[in-house]
């Protein structure tokens, strides 16, 4: 005899759903605190330092926003792919290829007028990232090739290739033996608006655009249908191959644009480390925001706090920044588990157990 039974929920009131999610987040914070405690640090002090490090001063706040910008744009790209149940874990590679394409433009036409140069770099980046997503999308659409491993392997290819360029043919002879690509000219660097590079405006605009695209356009709707059920999509006469490819071009294009922004505004050149795990973090943020573009904005800001705070405690408390990665993982485990309680009703019966259906 079982002491609990499960029933699939028909529908769940929005209030209750949010309550369950909030409980999940609270539990994950408690669990993360426990881990920190076990490792010999004070959890409250650690959490306090994370918040302080992310929001404590104007400079730190700026840093937090600068981390939120690329994460948001990448997350938008991942959302589109995941909505289609196309497991694009190639964000890293698409960011890299976008940065590479933008760098080709920036390094070859350093004297183009600033606005035009930046526009060309942006377009090149979208094409570069889009192309890197197109390859697995093409094989998925035509042959049903497993996209998870494909996109992931493309990450390694892109990163190794950029490393090769940085240490080989593109190495700047003027950098005194330090293996780096030549810096961009000032024309190839994104301008600042209110003390921050213009990327934050781009991120906000794109968030709204993708939200509208996913919820209010025919194409966006088709993407969700393909994700829900390929058979339904086929029955409705949708061109599945073209939907997969288009959606992935947008997904990869957004990641590519992230690469351009990071190369132009942050690194001011091409480096093999500029994607910094963002393609993977974006998977978490995309899922936490339940593949909703507007929600992703808030999730990404919260994550930027965690990332920036994690970097800060490394210096202030000598705790490795990886603790932030771990907290992310724990957070996601709990939120994923909470999905179960949204879908199923668990009833406990300890003494007079009724028959289980």
């Amino acid at each position: 005899m079982k002491w609990f039974s499960l029933k699939k929920r028909e529908e769940i009131p929005a209030k209750k759903a949010w309550l369950i999610r909030i409980v999940a987040v609270v539990l994950s914070v408690l669990c993360a605190g426990l881990v920190i405690l076990l490792l010999g640090f004070h959890p409250f002090v650690t959490f306090g330092e994370i918040i302080k490090g992310a929001l404590g001063s104007k400079i730190r706040l700026t840093q937090t926003v600068l981390k939120a910008v690329p994460l948001t744009i990448t997350t938008l790209g991942i959302i589109i792919a995941f909505k289609m149940k196309f497991w694009n874990i190639g964000g890293e590679g698409q960011i890299m290829m976008g940065a590479l394409a933008a760098s080709v433009v920036a390094l070859n036409f350093p004297d183009m007028p600033r606005g035009l140069l930046l526009l060309c770099m942006g377009i090149a980046a979208v094409i570069g990232g889009g192309l890197w997503a197109f390859i697995p999308a093409f094989f998925k659409a035509k042959m049903g090739t497993n996209e998870t491993i494909f996109t992931l392997m493309l990450n390694y290819l892109a990163i190794k290739f950029v490393t090769y360029l940085q240490y080989g043919p593109w190495r700047d002879p003027g950098s005194k033996g330090f293996p780096k690509v030549a810096d961009f000219t000032q024309n190839a660097v994104l301008p600042n608006v209110f003390g921050l590079h213009i990327g934050w405006i781009i991120a906000l605009l794109l968030t709204v655009a993708i939200f509208l695209f996913m919820n209010y356009t025919k194409k966006g709707y088709e993407v969700s249908v393909v994700g829900e059920s390929i058979d339904t999509a086929r029955y409705a006469g949708m061109n599945i191959q073209s939907i997969i490819i288009t959606a992935m071009l947008i997904s990869g294009g957004l990641c590519g644009l992230t690469g351009m922004i990071q190369a132009s505004a942050i690194e001011k050149t091409l480096t093999y480390s500029l994607s910094a795990g963002m393609g993977f973090t974006a998977i978490i943020t995309a899922w936490l925001s339940r593949l909703n573009a507007l929600a992703s904005l808030f999730v990404c800001i919260a994550f930027a706090v965690l990332l920036q705070g994690g970097a800060y405690i490394q210096i202030s408390m000598q705790i490795p920044a990886a603790v932030a990665d771990m907290i992310q993982g724990i957070l996601l485990f709990f939120v994923l588990s909470s999905e179960f309680f949204l879908q199923y009703k668990v009833s406990f019966h300890f003494k007079k157990a009724k028959g289980v259906a």
């Binding site: 490792l39 497993n146 190794k160 771990m326 485990f333 994923l336």
Partner: protein, 308 residues
Amino acid sequence: MEGFLAAAVIAGTPLLFATVGELITEKAGNLNLGVEGLMVMGAVIGFLVGYRTGSPVLACLGALAAGSVGSLIFAVLTVSLRVNQVVTGLTLTIFGQGFASFVGSSVMGAVLPYSIKEFFQVIAIPGLSSIPFIGPIFFKQDIFVYFGYVVVVATSIYLYKTKKGLNLRSVGESAASADASGIPVNLYKYVHIIIGGALCALGGAYLSLVTVPVWQENIIAGRGWIAVALVIFASWNPIKALVGSYLFGGLNILGFRLQSVGIHISQYLIDMLPYAATIFIVIISTRKNKKEDMPPADLSNPYFREER
């Protein structure tokens, strides 16, 4: 040539453990994309235990424990809570990497004690090692490599010659029919996910204990993902997994070999080879249509009895 092939076997051994581990997991109908995370958890715990105790056996047990705990999380989420397996696996990878770089930061760059190096030195198997060509490649290796052979043979026998193996395969093919015939589906899933995860972690430990006995964060370098691809390449067959793993081991070390015979191609370009080859394999395996080459039919479908 013999030297190269023997080195390929060594380089392929971590892949072998991870591939067989993932294969067992997938036979239970669960796709665990957390192999990379499990490997790095095994690598860091194995290294830490080995570094502190100097005992190779404890180090391996530690790695197995780390893999079991990691895959237990996966099992709870995907089997009991029916969470999406792809996302859970990815999370496990992200968590594992964070865990490893956090836990490992205290031993960054540390070197393992001699007792471990000694334990994993080459032991030639009398008789077998004197077979020309084959002997030096397969039977003049360390104990870990031999254990890899044992795991492959044991897994094959278990899967195809025992009642439990048959039950396991039926769970992966159709959880509902297995349940109907009285097989405890969830128990099977739990046990095999955990065994599979422990093997993945052991593969990671091989890297940190034997291959590069110095702790470094990016020690796995995508091998977990290659293992996931190798399962497809091997058509869910442990013997083919062995061939695939050694083949990829060879690709991994090709760069050094080419340079030592005077062919100079950038190391970074050669490093791309195993990844490019993985893509190639994933593409060509899509074209398979023989029945025994297919994935378990119920792979990555959560099972809920009431929904039959």
